[in-house]
């Protein structure tokens, strides 16, 4: 059994590393945004360790930069990270019956889009494998964030500006392929762009809000309309 555990762990370490290298790049861009919100390298490291979420952390940093209240930060985090609820729910069905609560929690703490993908690649979750994958990826997420913050302090401002655009590029890399494959997602993306522009330039009520508040309100509003107009199949397997 111990042999098997060791094999699982090493396999997890190996499979987590490519994810970790991707994390390093994304987190670096996120760090640029974190510095603009006033976080130090240590704060960025801890924020990334606790949250491990690109969109959620970006929304949080935007709110911090806007001096938002803690309640608003909690709400923004809830909305942008709500999808983890689906992933953890799917995961909870995939543990063998005798899995201890400690192991469920251990695996659950590392639910990200990518690590969830690894976890459900097999019919049963292997906790020790998952720990290995978490260990070779999550630290790189944290280090990347700190590195981005430090680079933001050291590099000339023109370069920092250009680097701050890279995170938006990564967001585009997530949404565009989905928009290409799915007509409803495509409409959602176009509507989101248009609504986000209108909310920040034309509508007096929402123009008075911070950009973080607009992100929360528009996300809830547009996603709710999409869900009402075009509900997905209830089998809920397509959460990844």
């Amino acid at each position: 059994m111990a042999e098997q555990g060791k094999r699982d762990f090493l396999e997890g370490l190996r499979d987590g590393l490519p994810i970790g290298l991707g994390y390093l790049a994304v987190a670096f861009s996120l760090g640029i945004a974190a510095r603009q919100a006033g976080l130090t390298a240590v704060q960025g490291f801890i924020a990334s360790l606790l949250s491990i979420a690109s969109a959620g952390e970006y929304a949080g940093f935007t709110l911090i930069a806007a001096q938002a209240s803690l309640a608003e930060i909690a709400l923004g985090t809830l909305v942008t990270n709500a999808r983890y609820l689906l992933m953890s729910t799917a995961l909870s069905q995939r543990f063998s019956k005798d899995t201890s609560l400690a192991k469920r929690i251990g695996v659950g703490l590392g639910v990200t889009d990518e690590l969830f993908g690894l976890a459900i690649a097999r019919s049963l979750v292997r906790p020790v494998y998952q720990y290995g994958a978490m260990l070779s990826s999550i630290p790189l997420w944290c280090i990347g964030t700190s590195a981005g913050i430090i680079a933001g302090q050291l590099l000339p401002s023109r370069m920092v500006t250009a680097l701050s655009v890279s995170l938006f590029g990564m967001f585009l890399a997530v949404i565009m392929p989905a928009a290409r494959n799915d007509r409803v997602v495509r409409i959602c993306v176009i509507a989101s762009f248009a609504a986000s522009y209108a909310a920040s330039h034309f509508i007096p009520l929402t123009m008075a809000w911070s950009s973080g508040t607009r992100i929360i309100a528009l996300t809830v509003f547009i996603s709710a309309i999409a869900a009402l107009v075009h509900p997905v199949d209830t089998e809920g397997d397509d959460v990844a």
Binding site: L63, L85, G108, A162
Partner: protein, 100 residues
Amino acid sequence: MSTRIWLSIIVMGAVTVAIRLLPLTLIRKPLKNRFLLSFLHYVPYVTLAVMTFPAIVESCETPLAGLAALAVGAYAAWQGANMVSVAAICSITAFILGFI
């Protein structure tokens, strides 16, 4: 200032950890509500799109540089370029056009 940031970081982490752990500890039943499932399906795309535009345009030196970065990045992503490539293309475009 620093205290406020630390509190914000802790709130972000606590909410995120709660979202991850609730389904594995207290609530173990699968989600069945069709509206909620659909809502959660659309949220990631909508929130990323809302965050990206018009922020990408306004984060650049000039609106032209921002619009170009958006156009080039959106096209590359549409064509299936990987995440790091799209990020690099956007940054380089913004950097070069930032001088105009």
